[in-house]
Symmetry: C4
Subunit: 219 residues, 4 copies
């Protein structure tokens, strides 16, 4: 009975995620697509052309993983969020605005993988991730504040575990952003590790003493 309210919000978001993740393939160029049969490169020529596309393939895989992990997080939040209102829909639109934009900085970063001395691309990429982390936080804080839009039968510890993991979010992305001013590869690696971290669900605090793992130092 209570389940239905976010159905269309999720369906629309799923559609946006699905289109955004699929459009990534349009960035992969097919060598010799505009050549006539007699001018097609032969095997000896085609192989280096295909191999030289590795930055594009890396950008494809990275963007795919990023948007995929974002979908996973969106899915995780909406197993707890059951009700909806205009503010939530607008915050969700803000989040989707950033997600749909992700392929742009990713393509730019892939282009500049061969020029690690240049920082502008990595700055834009890290900056987008900061805004994304903030958008996710806004959505979750708004929905979970005093359980505003959370379902009634939801495990309150799971809600708290997400809140903790997300609290942790924008700060390290900001570190990656500042790092991009000095060292492009280090910034990209940190961004990649953070994506991995958010793919993992927050650990539920079974015994009080081990809480969630991003806070191991505290306990």
């Amino acid at each position: 009975m209570e389940e239905k309210e976010t159905g269309r919000l999720e369906a629309f978001s799923d559609g946006v995620f699905a289109v955004a993740i699929t459009l990534l393939v349009l960035n992969i160029k097919i060598p010799g697509l505009d050549l006539s049969a007699s001018h097609l490169p032969n095997d000896a020529q085609l192989r280096p052309m295909l191999l030289s596309e590795w930055p594009m393939l890396a950008a494809y895989a990275t963007s795919f993983a990023t948007i995929g992990v974002m979908w996973l997080n969106h899915h995780r939040l909406f197993t707890h969020i059951k009700r909806t209102n205009t503010v939530l829909m607008l915050l969700n639109l803000l989040l989707l605005l950033v997600i749909v934009f992700i392929p742009v900085p990713t393509a730019l970063v892939a282009e500049y993988l061969v020029r690690p001395d240049q920082h502008a691309a990595a700055l834009l990429y890290s900056g987008t991730n900061v805004i994304l982390a903030v958008s996710f936080n806004l959505l979750w804080r708004y929905a979970s504040y005093h359980n505003r839009l959370i379902g009634k039968n939801v495990d309150i510890r799971a809600v708290r575990a997400i809140s903790k993991q997300y609290w942790f979010g924008p700060l390290p992305y900001l570190v990656a952003f500042i790092l991009a001013l000095f060292n492009t590869p280090a910034s990209l690696i940190l961004n990649f590790l953070l994506a991995l971290f958010f793919a993992i669900p927050p650990r539920l605090p079974r015994p009080v003493s081990e809480q969630s793992f991003e806070q191991q130092g505290d306990t």
Copy 2:
């Protein structure tokens, strides 16, 4: 039991909204995408190139907000519309036809932001919004006329509040259209304010004396 009839209409519409809103990102050009590694612009060159893309980014955000708000309105209408027939489906297709077209005038307006003395782009943009407002009205008037396709348990005051807010719709968009003949920025600002206005749900008339807020002058 009564809920199901519009399910596929909503799923199809969600898909169209999702694709239309995501395709907007294809208009953002990535600088130097077709250059070889040795000819890539360096940071000093890339930053002004990225900054000069602000009209494109503005168009992206505006179109995204416009289509997003349209989705929000569509979602709001279909919490009340529960049944469907061929006429409703055709009116819904007409509405989607206009929504899918929105990126075209928006891109044109973004292009002409730097030439506010030229009015054709703003006219096309405002004209599209007039047609959109009319399409929304047609859909809603048809469905709500004598509660033709409205669910049986729906709050009748909510239905009336939407009817009032929508009645208000096409006229100010027509004002924005006429304004575009004389003053492009004023027309765009009015269009933006109207989008904001339709993002806000119609206020329910709790006591009779304060009705819906767009009619404050009457009471």
Copy 3:
């Protein structure tokens, strides 16, 4: 209980219809998109450029209407088809293959609207419609044969009415195809009228004497 089996088939088809109908907007070119601010055409130049796009807009509206009406028919069939199997899925894929292809002949026809003496474009367009009508028939004949995949509580007269309307399908499209060899505009108008005809639901045979309207001559 019986309702669920075609759910994912419909969701996937809705997605394909939604993407196909939205991609149509990519064919509309935005004048001066690749020009710098100082070279933008002024109003006097831009208006004829926009007006000269009318064949593209006509193609956009026609394709949109065609795919929309196809969606409407697909929706109508699947209010009766409740079960699914591998053959139905493959026939549905065949149907989607033709629908996704529709923008190609439509764009070609729009291009050749200014050259009605040339017939190849209209032939391709009509030919695609013949194949589409045959695909729809295959899907419906397979599902409705001995009520193979039809729901148990379905109105048998509605099923028969669709069978009659569809029987009528491929033949007039074949007429339009042959007409395209001699007279392009007449062929296009016939195709348009047939799309309109299939947008209208088949009339249910209330009294036996008036059957469905495409067979008025018989009774």
Copy 4:
């Protein structure tokens, strides 16, 4: 009650399949699209231009069939998989990553249909199919291992029949890959036959003695 958990995973996957299968049409070029009315090719010129597009059409139909059959298999697996967890979602993302990539090697193969002496395109195409078969296996093995994520009321023989059919998967695709080193057409034909094979549902082992048909030699 148990049905719901994979709903959003399937909706997201359906979206990705739908977009990927529809984007294929963008590879079909429309002759003379960028020409003014006076320079349009006439019928005598247009017909050979359209006929020369047959490799593109073959690639469109093949990719459409491939992705369609993959959707059919995905649908078949998820009639049995009822629960979900983070690992399944990541394996599903890996599978979608490969599926979205399919149009790239297919377009390359279509280009090289006229040059069967060149093997690089067929190698890339066969290699992608090997990775696809492995991804499908990983997803299914993970979900079906000790019935980890399988529904409780599922026919255990159907699950076993899929496991057997899939076990058979990567090996013949590897044969097709090695074949591509020596004979491009033979490799493509084997790939096509394998796609057909996986479109057919695994035969249920009614009497013990006839098991599933890919293992006829054993019994």
